[in-house]
């Protein structure tokens, strides 16, 4: 059975269970998960339509050749001059009665409304509960790709550490990480460099601030490699640590460890968040931990499961997510330690091989 056949079988089992006769996915991550490919999205109706015992790819005729080669499914094509309505009618004839239509929730509205009108007796529901749930459990190929991507990010992080010098700007240091990613053929997604007080903003925009002796620096970087993203956060300091830094770093590290220890198959996602939050709150920094403990990572850099204070998602073997507690002290510094982990039967496997200790850098060595 091919990879796509495998995924289609999993989708159909879930469709049967929830009573859906048709799943319609636009060019995006859900489609990519099923086909291992998706076309560049544009304004022309392009759909993967999965029925209980059929699958079709609806595509504008100008893209038919590419779609045929990549999707490996029967095509329903339409021409710019005619518009896509007839293609949707053809689909309706092929799939028969539809009482529940599962729609890609990320799909453009000018794709979904014609679908809803064509299947006007079907209840529309979103694919995040069906495809999204399946996507949370990674297969071995995906895990291997995520490990490779993490290794590329480790080397970019090292390039960032090596670039640190007093007098350089955040942007200049970030460029070294971008260059490292690019040299390995990775598609840079983000290279955050937040120095000194800027570190206290979790989503600081890397800019022209000049690095000074004694600055703490947050590096939060990620890139696509082999179709899968990376996402890692480490701390550095320019020459020496700011006053009071190490104590706070130790709290964040203990929060990380507590979260990792709490993560077990069968545990609810909020219990991992609870564990990290308790360490930080008990240490007196609760008000400075302003975000969730983690997010899933797969075809997308943010996807389920989300490790929030309210998530009831049950962790399972094969899930992949970040553990990234942080403490952000306005005017002084911010500290976040982020690792991507794979949920194994006995506990988490950390993808990065870099220690989470703060790296003293910038001495020109």
């Amino acid at each position: 059975m091919s990879r796509t056949d495998d995924k289609l079988a999993a989708v159909r089992a879930a469709m049967t269970e929830q009573g859906a006769e048709l799943v319609a996915l636009g060019p995006g991550a859900h489609m990519h998960w099923v086909l291992g490919w998706h076309p560049h999205p544009d304004e022309r109706l392009t759909l993967l339509a999965i029925g209980r015992d059929s699958a079709h790819f609806i595509v504008p005729s100008v893209n038919a050749e590419q779609a045929g080669a990549n999707a490996g499914l029967p095509l329903i094509t339409w021409r710019d001059e005619d518009g896509p309505e007839e293609a949707l009618r053809t689909l309706a004839q092929k799939v028969g009665n539809v009482t529940q239509l599962v729609l890609d929730e990320t799909m453009r509205t000018d794709f979904s409304l014609p679908l809803i009108r064509t299947f006007d007796r079907a209840e529309p529901v979103f694919a995040d509960g069906l495809i999204g749930a399946l996507r949370m459990i990674k297969d071995e190929t995906e895990l291997a790709a995520l490990r490779s991507s993490a290794a590329v990010a480790d080397r970019a992080m090292e390039a960032g550490f090596s670039a640190i010098r007093p007098g350089l700007t955040e942007s200049q240091v970030a460029q070294a990480m971008r260059d490292s990613f690019a040299e390995e053929g990775a598609a840079v997604a983000f290279t955050l460099c937040a120095s000194g007080p800027n570190g206290a903003f979790p989503h600081h925009a890397t800019g022209d601030r000049v690095l000074e002796e004694g600055d703490a620096i947050v590096f939060d970087i990620g890139a696509g490699f082999g179709g899968y993203p990376s996402d890692i956060t480490r701390m550095a300091a320019v020459g020496s640590l700011p006053e009071g830094y190490q104590e706070v770093h130790d709290v964040v590290e203990r929060a990380w460890q507590a979260a990792a220890a709490a993560a077990r198959p069968g545990v609810r996602a909020h219990e991992v968040d609870d564990a990290a939050r308790k360490v930080i709150t008990d240490a007196g920094y609760g008000e400075y931990f302003v975000h969730r403990t983690g997010h899933g990572l797969g075809l997308e850099v943010h996807e389920p499961p989300y490790l929030t204070s309210s998530s009831q998602t049950v962790l399972q073997e094969g899930m992949v997510f970040s553990i990234e507690p942080g403490i952000y002290i306005p005017g002084r510094f911010g500290i976040r330690l982020e690792d991507i982990v794979i949920m194994g039967a006995e506990g988490v496997e950390v993808l990065s091989s870099l220690p989470r200790a703060v790296r003293l850098a910038g001495d020109g060595a």
Copy 2:
């Protein structure tokens, strides 16, 4: 009147004309055109809601501060724990009766379906006919930004010409253009380098082909600068022209000139396409001109008006579009000449200052 007030007034005039009481835009180009800003899109409901005499920004509370600073409009916020339904009910109370709801056609379906359910007595129509039509006419600020962006692209093109050497790969030459864009702070969108027979594929993926003496080369490049894109195509040749090249280049240049001469306010877009196509067809190359003559350019690199063989769009002063006829001869070479032009009262203004003549390059000079 602020820029946003100006845009809101234009939107409301169009709403009155077509009988719409509410326009709902997601984080994308339509929103950007109205506000001069849009937040990074994610899965959480974020909307600009324009009524006949109100405007609100619906936003998750975690992003409220950023939205308040940038949108300059009353906010309706919602919290992750509660979901966005109450925010939509609040909106409904504020705007009153809605018989026609204008939806951003690019909006995620999990944004639009809750809107349609909230305004369940309204007819949903798409914003491309309303905001899209307004966006076609650029204001002076936009024209200035497009001119600056084009100048950055001209310099990247020169960098590409200078990089040409027999023995380098397409990718290596493209890198010189990427570096030029990056040095000026432009966000590279595409740097196509198609050499020799690869030029015959209009959307060739720049790769490892090694440049040889006598190759024709297509450069098609663009980058975002000051929020506005560039898009230009020029031809070069390595050392000497391939046999029969100049004759075909002259045909494409005459097609470009004919299209430019046909472009006048009041003319339909297809007449410009017709003019270019006639020159190429009369010269015997009609079957090798496989695409439309041009596309609009503004906040997006492809947007209305489209210069196709069937477009009835009437050209107006202030529109901006490409004129880019091409002839692609399989196994030999492809020639495309693309300039972005502003439709003026008397004719087109070309943004690039680079001649469209083929550039002989690669002699190491």
